[in-house]
Symmetry: C2
Subunit: 575 residues, 2 copies
Amino acid sequence: MADKIFRVNMSDLSASVEEVPSGWMGLGGRGLTSTVVAAEVEPTCHPLGAGNKLVIAPGLLSGTQAANSGRLSCGAKSPLTGTIKEANSGGTSAQMLAKHGVKALIIEGLPQADKWYGLQVSAKGVTILEETELVGKGNYEVVEKLNGRLGEKCAVITIGPAGEMKLTAANISVKDPGSRLRSCGRGGLGAVLGAKRIKFIAIEATDAKVDIAKPEAFQQAGRAFAKALVDNPISQALGQYGTNVLVNIINEAGGLPTRNFTSGQFAGHESISGETMHDLIVERGGRPKHNCHPGCVINCSQIYPGKDKKYLTSGFEYESIWAMGADCCVDNLDHIAEADHLMDDLGLDTIETSVAFGVAMEAGVLSFGDGAGVCRMLREEIGRGTAIGRIIGCGAGSVGRAFGVTRVPVVKNQAIPAYDPRAIKGIGITYATSTQGADHTMGYTIATNILGVGGKLDPLSKEGQVELSRNLQIATAAIDSTGMCLFIAFAALDDPNCLPALIDMINARFGIALTADDVTNLGKTILKTERGFNLAAGFTSHDDRLPEFFRHEPIAPHNVVWDIPDAAIDSFWNF
Amino acid sequence: MADKIFRVNMSDLSASVEEVPSGWMGLGGRGLTSTVVAAEVEPTCHPLGAGNKLVIAPGLLSGTQAANSGRLSCGAKSPLTGTIKEANSGGTSAQMLAKHGVKALIIEGLPQADKWYGLQVSAKGVTILEETELVGKGNYEVVEKLNGRLGEKCAVITIGPAGEMKLTAANISVKDPGSRLRSCGRGGLGAVLGAKRIKFIAIEATDAKVDIAKPEAFQQAGRAFAKALVDNPISQALGQYGTNVLVNIINEAGGLPTRNFTSGQFAGHESISGETMHDLIVERGGRPKHNCHPGCVINCSQIYPGKDKKYLTSGFEYESIWAMGADCCVDNLDHIAEADHLMDDLGLDTIETSVAFGVAMEAGVLSFGDGAGVCRMLREEIGRGTAIGRIIGCGAGSVGRAFGVTRVPVVKNQAIPAYDPRAIKGIGITYATSTQGADHTMGYTIATNILGVGGKLDPLSKEGQVELSRNLQIATAAIDSTGMCLFIAFAALDDPNCLPALIDMINARFGIALTADDVTNLGKTILKTERGFNLAAGFTSHDDRLPEFFRHEPIAPHNVVWDIPDAAIDSFWNF
């Protein structure tokens, strides 16, 4: 069965299934969402208006047996940054969409009536149904109710109340194999779905299989690929402690932004570290290892129970724990977990929202360290759409503007995540030059700056950081197109068997003959397509800058400032 | 006595008096503030940070006997728009500063301590004093208390609670001859003074006179100039009905933006018109004619009493009445007057704040037409710095972002004022290309598009609008440098004696020999200086655009959209 483009027009509530244009054939995931957005969305349109489109695409290998290939990409013009945006997530939707033959689902237009809708997807196409029961409900309840309607195996893409309210920190959530939540977190894409008045997209369960052109070659490459992943020491550490293994590592490096980016170390780091979390999960009978999508062999997720030993949260990531922890000075992991649960349920990007709380704490809205206060505000303010809830729910830049705070850690209005660019300079290049605002996942230089993966590069030195970020951003754009989890990058950088096996799988899936150079060129093309959209939207190199305070305020313990010259930043695009 | 530059550094609480650099000698008002800001402020700095400077300058003719020469210019990088900004106002400060020999007062840095300050200016220099009593007080009380401290004749520049809270709709208020308030309204400059923790600038009264190089020539030109003003029919209409004479005129033209820019006519226009207002003022024993600064011969201001015949507001302008009236569908003039009083007292730009209320009404925060609700919110929400108060007090763009509204009438994040650009296309060019965000006063094409001053040009036609706006913007930049009220433009455009007399006065004041071409070149240079600052701050022609909805939503009664091509807009800068 050939893949198709599924298209929904909310203006006239119509749906269609179209052939895939030849130029889009070789694309998947981010490569496809960015190509479609660049081709079909007017770059200067209002992100919440009729002109924006939300594009949802599984990766090239999603739906196959390839390990770690279940990432789902969502793309649009971001209401948070105004740039092009792609956010990807685990969960079961990518694989289910791929099995239905959905190359991409493109959602356009705005409905005329003051009504909410749900979409139901199968191989036959998309059905648009008016929705009333689930409007205003949290994501956990949406998943539970849709399980009841369509069976436990259905896949679900959903927005919480934050997306309904069009808050620009709203994410798009994706049901995972345990009916819990994963998130296409960044860039406020939940608000785009909210503007289109779509509460959820349910994907019917299917046992269909995606076509594999050369099944034997695929199986052979798949085994080599999975072996490279499971043999990798970083994969193993991620499996043991989750991404939160990084708290102690980044704190030791002096790059753990603390108290709204005024220090690089957090006194309470031990209380919130991956090691502490692991022991607590074991003690409470939770699951320290867990997969976010079927076929993952790394298992960096976990089930975190509360004091009562009942489920509290899952997919409890380092960046979320850092943001609500060190950045807000909250050293109580249960408060952080509760906040994480609430943000997942409301459908809020944990990084954007927590960094916004850090700025709000600097403004005096609540005290640094007040984790219980954060949970109360999530429930009673953001959850209810009060004015302060909206200010915080629109992100760190929003809080800065409302309260006149000048120390606001954002690039292109998106919150800077868990690695201070003064102390880890490579990641600063990624924040500045990323086509999508500050985002560590766009070019994760921490690998080489801190973890010694793909070589070593002194995080405090100015030398080589642009090249490092450039190479990683190109590679990431390509990986994000395959449906692969970004964590395959550790093996890909250090194990010579990994990348060839990945390419062999793609070739065997489609009966083509990509080379490593082709993959690199794909990454370059994606970045340039995204950059082209942004330039047409009015962005310039002036937007590729970190906030002023990073140049003026040295950060402890290294007492360093952001000192990469603008011209060096701009040289990023020399490729 | 030669004029000097007075400089205050809030970082170390020092003040100095400096010689005027030769390049600044021939400049005053906006020409000087923009030149200083462009020379001394890093264009990419945070507007509320230590790098921004507030520059206050009387015009070239301020302090002389020249009619209508009492405008005060304030300039800085705007926290609302991010562009360079100049806002000017009547009141007594410009004349008093000029008499003290203050060419410009430059305020830089940020204080270290969590304290508030007041500045006291005399010919000797500036004294910086800690202030406690007036912190948190409204502008009316500040003026009253400073009158008590320094005598009724002192001049006062002040910010209200809005400026203290660094709200980006905060204005800078200037005491008028009756100890009431005039405003440097637009661009949020009150937040810049608030960030610098300066509650007020008091200027000691003086009887000193500014030097006139050629007194007789000055006197002769001054008489010709004043005659041109008083003979002009528009001046006379402004004197009779105030600027609010425009409500019926612009409504008739179909360009009175109504109900958050969804119609060009307001059913309640008669209730809020200048004619109705005039009769009400007379009936209640108010003053339909009033001057905002000594020496004004137009007297477009008025004293508007409430139902109880006591003072309610003054300087009650068309744009304020339109914004709270037609745009918010409030047809009760007393509610509008009360809101005007409250906004003046809180130190809020009436245009920005009222247009923000219009967007908030569209978002459902309160109902269209609820004037009493607006007054309550001004008092209880903005006045107290609640979250919804901050959202609205940061302007129309802020409300749009917080509530996900797509019909947000702003350019460069500044609210579009009282003339719909779809029905009056020349003013749309001004909104789009102004160096300072949407601002009718930057190039008031209404003169020619509607009032038939300086020729006639069909407001609905695309032809000639760019040239009209360009010529007016150049002339305005020059006029804004003289200390003259912009309303001299009507006489300047139609009376051949007016402009030569103005130039003769400048020449006689300084003993120089400017020509009309020199004045035009001054205007061009100012615009290019301002544009240069903006380009260095990261603005491009992409920012010179009206919001998307103006191109897609036709406005009644003409059912026209904004249809000037982008290339035509960009040709504005071909000079």
